[in-house]
Symmetry: C2
Subunit: 181 residues, 2 copies
């Protein structure tokens, strides 16, 4: 199962931290990368820095044309899940999404909007999924979708070639540092 | 089970949206209220506006003294869960937290920090919980903790006296508006 996050509606002046959180959640919870439909090198830099330190191969691509990305994803047989509080409740649709993702070469684009997502996104999506039908946070919605999709397994993921690795502790902090020279 | 979120380390100039998301996630996923250890009336206003429209009784209290709140919570027999990527993995500790929360009059304070949480918080907590031991987002960490605690039931919560209520849909938007006059 391959998952890519498509972030729409990012306004550099307002959304920098929220979009960074979207990317970091994608990385931590098992997505392969994030496509950002805006030019914001700062986001790319900060997420790439985290990946360098904490491992894995998460990619960030900025300045994408979301219409083109959506179209080519669908053309290649990929599925699209759009997170929106107006959609079907996650508990209703997650079994179907999970089943689809167990098929060979399954790949899923998760569309995470900000305010006012164009109606064509609702139309292009295989699933419009509401992570509760209440207003809250696209960061939380993405996290809960990925967690329900992976059924919790991603919460113990170990990342390859990490410079920093946490040793879980009841109290305090312990980090193993492996510097490549 | 009664849950209150304590938000630490909020800097009004930088954290306004992230802290608003923390509050909205708390509200949507079954917490009773948020204590904010900073003076930021804007947060209180925007979350209270959401509660007025979308229902329920979620409270926001700003300008609290976090040391005093933690101490009185513990004195009243409440448990404290601190979200930190340095802690024990959520999958290891969630059965214990769930069991504690099934006891009579159980109440849980979930501490959500920003950068550099004082060590006394680690010490005061009954559980220091890592929602994955990777850096990502306090918004996502709170959402996943609440979801694992409630085992998904909160995702279908219906809120009392809501002016706005979404009718889940495969495509498009449908909202029932009930204006009290």
């Amino acid at each position: 199962m391959e998952i890519v996050v498509l972030r729409l509606g990012h306004r550099p002046e307002r959304d920098q931290r929220v979009t960074t959180h979207v990317g970091l959640v994608g990385r931590a919870l098992g997505a392969k990368g994030m496509l950002l439909a805006a030019n914001d090198q700062g986001i790319e830099r900060s997420i790439t820095k985290v990946t360098k330190q904490w491992g894995g191969n998460f990619f960030v691509k900025t300045g994408v044309n979301w219409r083109a990305e959506l179209a080519s994803w669908r053309q290649s047989g990929g599925k699209v899940c759009h997170l929106t509080m107006y959609g079907e409740n996650i508990l209703e649709v997650i079994p179907e999404i999970r089943a689809e993702m167990k098929k060979e070469n399954a790949h899923l684009m998760v569309v995470v909007g900000a305010e006012k997502v164009p109606f064509e996104v609702f139309e292009a999506a295989d699933w419009n999924v509401a992570v509760s039908n209440q207003p809250h946070s696209e960061v939380a919605a993405l996290a809960l979708l990925l967690d329900h999709l992976h059924e919790g397994r991603e919460l113990k993921a170990v990342f390859e070639h990490a410079e920093l690795q946490i040793v879980p502790k009841k109290r305090g902090k312990e980090v193993i540092v492996t510097k490549r020279v």
